[in-house]
């Protein structure tokens, strides 16, 4: 049980990063990006296909995947910024659902038969230790993902607070129309955020723990677990999103260790979403009552 729970940390941080990126995207581009994992998956699968067909190096394939994900994400961002610049967040997010469906449909044509499991770039352990008579492993993936999460969290916070680039992004997030009127290049900045987000998710995926099922549909739907993580921070606080991700991962690990519950592992995400929605609802009711 301890083993499984501990092993849940790596997928947890992975979900956390998805949640962090979703949170930042929601803040900076007013869009819940449901296409996020689809975009990363597509890049990853193209890279993987190239490894198989062209025998290219794994790291080169990861780079190809990154470029594809960044460009694809940029295109979705550009479409939203061009045609729905002032639309509500729900409408903008709906576009990303459409994009997700399109990506999944295209993938079934391109990679249909190819369900060979996606492999992380690093597969060794950096440390192992004993707790009682249970042997626990710390994988390279875990270390890289954790560092990546912290780099994104601290980096984005510094960027937003300390650079003019960040000040402009925050101005857009506050009042897009007013930012445009004072000459901020809203569209370029918006698309830039999408491109960076695509690149970051692709890097994250390159270190995706092997324990996560990753045929192209499950892969794309990991965005749900990421959304649950982001929900913990109310799509506002990226640190809480990381915490939420870890919570999901660890709970899933714990549940999978119980023979009676193991089959319900995937329900953890759903239940967590439900709990947080109800929790928020309760607060709102309370606010109104006050």
């Amino acid at each position: 049980m301890l083993l499984n729970t501990f092993a849940g940390l790596t997928p947890g941080v992975f979900y956390g990063i998805i949640g962090i990126l979703l949170t930042l995207m929601a803040q900076l581009t007013r869009t819940v990006n449901f296409s996020q994992m689809g975009v990363g998956m597509f890049g990853g699968y193209v890279g993987m296909t190239m490894i198989q067909k062209l025998k290219i190096d794994m790291w080169l394939a990861a780079l190809v995947g990154l470029v594809i994900a960044a460009v694809l994400s940029g295109i979705i961002g550009w479409i939203i910024a061009t045609w729905l610049p002032n639309a509500q967040i729900a409408t903008r997010s709906a576009v990303t659902v459409a994009a997700l469906l399109l990506i999944v449909a295209t993938s079934s044509v391109l990679f249909g038969a190819n369900h060979s499991n996606f492999k992380p770039l690093l597969q060794n352990n950096v440390a192992e230790f004993n707790v009682g008579d249970v042997k626990l492993f710390v994988s390279q993936n875990f270390v890289v993902l954790l560092v990546l999460a912290l780099v994104i969290l601290i980096g984005s916070s510094l960027l937003l607070k300390r650079t003019m680039f960040g000040v402009r992004l925050r101005a857009i997030s506050d009042r897009q129309a007013a930012a445009e009127l004072i000459g901020v290049n809203v569209k370029v900045l918006n698309v830039g955020v999408w491109v960076v987000s695509g690149a970051l998710i692709s890097i994250t995926i390159s270190f995706m723990p092997a324990s996560i099922s990753n045929d192209y549909i499950s892969f794309s739907l990991l965005v749900i677990a990421g959304s649950a993580a982001a929900l913990v921070g109310a799509f506002k606080n990226p640190w809480l999103a990381l915490l939420g991700g870890v919570l999901i991962g660890v709970l899933q690990g714990f549940v999978s260790a119980l023979p009676a519950l193991a089959a319900y592992k995937e329900w953890v995400t759903f239940i967590l979403i439900l709990v947080f929605l109800l929790w928020n609802q309760r607060k709102e009711v309370w606010d109104v009552a006050r």
């Binding site: 402009r168 506050d174 009042r175 007013a178 004072i182 000459g183």
Partner: protein, 229 residues
């Protein structure tokens, strides 16, 4: 050299809200535009700023036709607008609000010097400021971009008259520095008092254009203009 609206018509939803309006804002001068609620004052300003594109007519700035320019391009060409309703960026500090438009340190300092009382609030989030202070930030931010023309839409809205009176000499000073100012206001008398040129707009049409003094000193003329007679 001036900012000119030539025979501009603006349509919105049901129909024209501005019909065949022609006006000119000269550098270094204040043109005050007044009119009742819903007369089309904001629509007029928005058609100059590029928020809405006129269905006919043209907007010309210093001999350049900017009718088809994007908002951003207009701003780069030297147009600054203070929208109706205190358009601060609430999560930005006072300093950051000004940094958004100031191209140089001296532009920033000059804008800051308009309102020395903002100095001690420099690192506060603007959402924490009073309405009057927020309006100062918005005006300073517009001035920091070193505009050639400045459009001000009902800065007085929701402010006590004394607070608005604090803004007026600053607006005068900005005009004296060579900026052409279009001042849209409900506080007709105060705003007309600092103007070189006056216009009254009613139901999307110009019902008076001429001396501000004549308008303020003749109550019957003012009433008739507001009624569109």
């Amino acid at each position: 050299m001036s900012l000119v609206l030539n025979d501009v018509t603006v349509s919105r939803g049901v129909g024209p809200v501005i019909s065949n309006v022609t006006l000119e804002v000269k550098p270094g001068q204040i043109t005050t535009l007044v009119g009742p609620n819903g007369a089309g004052k904001t629509s007029l300003i928005e058609s100059i700023a590029g928020v809405i594109i006129p269905s006919s007519g043209s907007v010309v700035m210093n001999d350049v036709d900017i009718t088809k320019f994007s908002k951003r391009k207009r701003s780069r060409a030297g147009l600054a607008i203070v929208e109706q309703g205190r358009m601060i960026f609430p999560s930005l500090t006072v300093r950051e609000n000004l940094q958004l438009t100031a191209r140089t340190k001296s532009d920033f300092d000059e804008a800051m010097a308009l309102f020395p009382e903002l100095e001690k609030r420099m690192n506060n989030n603007t959402v924490l400021l009073s309405g009057g202070e927020q309006q100062m930030v918005v005006l300073a931010r517009a001035f920091a971009s070193k505009p050639k023309y400045l459009l001000l839409d009902e800065m007085s809205l929701g402010l006590a008259p004394v607070v608005f009176m604090r803004l007026l000499p600053v607006i005068e000073g900005i005009a004296k520095s060579g900026v052409g100012v279009l001042l849209v206001e409900q506080f007709a008398h105060l705003a007309l008092g600092i103007a070189e040129d006056a216009m009254v707009v009613t139901s999307g049409r110009v019902s008076y254009h001429g001396s501000p003094k004549k308008l303020t000193s003749d109550a019957e003329l003012m009433r008739k203009s507001y009624m569109g007679e």
